[in-house]
Assembly symmetry: C2
Amino acid sequence: MKKFGFGVDIGGTTCKIGLFETTGQIVEKWEIPTDTREGGKNILPDVAASLQGKMRERSISKEDVEGIGIGIPGPVQTDGSVPVCVNLGWKNVHVPAEMEALMPGIEVRAGNDANVAALGEMWQGGGKGCKNMVMVTLGTGVGGGIIVDEKIVAGSHGAGGEIGHITVNPHETVPCNCGRNGCLEQYCSATGITRLAKERLALEHGETLLDKEEVSAKAVFDAYKQQDKTAEEIVEKFAGILGRGLSNIACVADPEVFVIGGGVSKAGEILLEAVQRYFKKAAFPSCVDTRFALASLGNDAGMYGCVKLILK
Amino acid sequence: MKKFGFGVDIGGTTCKIGLFETTGQIVEKWEIPTDTREGGKNILPDVAASLQGKMRERSISKEDVEGIGIGIPGPVQTDGSVPVCVNLGWKNVHVPAEMEALMPGIEVRAGNDANVAALGEMWQGGGKGCKNMVMVTLGTGVGGGIIVDEKIVAGSHGAGGEIGHITVNPHETVPCNCGRNGCLEQYCSATGITRLAKERLALEHGETLLDKEEVSAKAVFDAYKQQDKTAEEIVEKFAGILGRGLSNIACVADPEVFVIGGGVSKAGEILLEAVQRYFKKAAFPSCVDTRFALASLGNDAGMYGCVKLILK
């Protein structure tokens, strides 16, 4: 096996690049700006120049490189082509073909950024040692990634792992960003938790550490850690919705572990415990012991997953 | 590639056996009784004797046989071993190892019967031409099978594709067979549809073709085809629950096609149309055009899938 691999996680403002040993050890990481001008035509050439510079600097030949994995903030086809990527200004970019033309002799693969982040967590993060995993990213929205037998389930329309848009409440009247109503993301994202908190605080007449005007998901979990009763109610509601939602996912994909990441997951073990408690109550009998773990690679997960993408 | 493969779908009373060309063409099928006495110890030897007899009869040598695929009515581990199978009386049977000892020189693989039936429908049935499929079996219960990239998602606890046990109504007070409440199967199986019908008929004061005492899923769909208003209400309720349930599965596995099989699916296109209509309303935008198809292999699906299991 060749010794090195590059992971390139392209975001709307910066590209996070990592040089890895194929064993999973990170050697060095750095960032370059993402130039989205002119339909993003400079993005891949800029990345290629950066990788070539690094190879010269460290005297790494192309024979030493197993490949380059690239994460894209949008839908990616199975062959690595990108029909449209609004965040990068791209239309019809075949990432492997264009990148291989810039870096002859090195294999290139591409995947969606949320999916490669899940793969990264499976390989070297919270799901290390597992082959079947569901990643749940609780950020501004709720994202996900389904890994079956070490491979991403991208889906036939790029909607594999779009678990934030599972309908958990068909009676919801407030619309989700996707245009539908009652999606998991409306209750379990940072924004969703804030909304749950505001609704609860509007009814509050007792004492609470939470401030009606400046409540946030973080404030809720901070108050929860101090046993604030109102925060407890909000967290129980959040955990009930998420735990039950994940129990339904277990009846489809039946993973070994749910790995919880994203900004909200910084609340830590106390969040896992609450969600897992509701999951156990709701789960199909054979799945009650499914493990829960926190994501551990933070913003580097995508880079890791990009490298895993190119390993055979 | 070798020319032939055997598919053996072991049931609690009979084993359905098929000799196939590896192209997917069935050459001959027959059945032998399943002998569940003495912990089912004769089952695999009986199957082996039947296969050897057929090979002699048709002058097929082991060099002509790609392999033997075996479907088991219970949970099967990834390596083909079966910890417990109540239907067969088995405890700790390593199907490939035991069968290969009986049929030296021929490769053997085993899978769960519902999962191999899904694989069969993907290979030569309603999902032909697809690599990503969700099979929905509406029988006495509701079963399923998730196929990703032509492979079964068996799950870490054998619960992959247990879609009948997705909770669709947390407020349900009647318990499901699994001990929980509000599972999809409680509304969308033949039994579930009968229950919906009885509940509706208890409130009926007008005219209907349906008989309160002898209603069945088949009677409901027959009356639906004759535009019976009461049957329409029942079918709309069933289709709404199933369509919304499948829209949530699409946010996880995002298949190209949902293939609907099992006894209830004999209602035909009219059932597909109703379910798909609710699916489209509920689905995540990128999935609204997911195809729906009827299963087409009937009880032979398992045999087909067993053969597909052994093809590289």
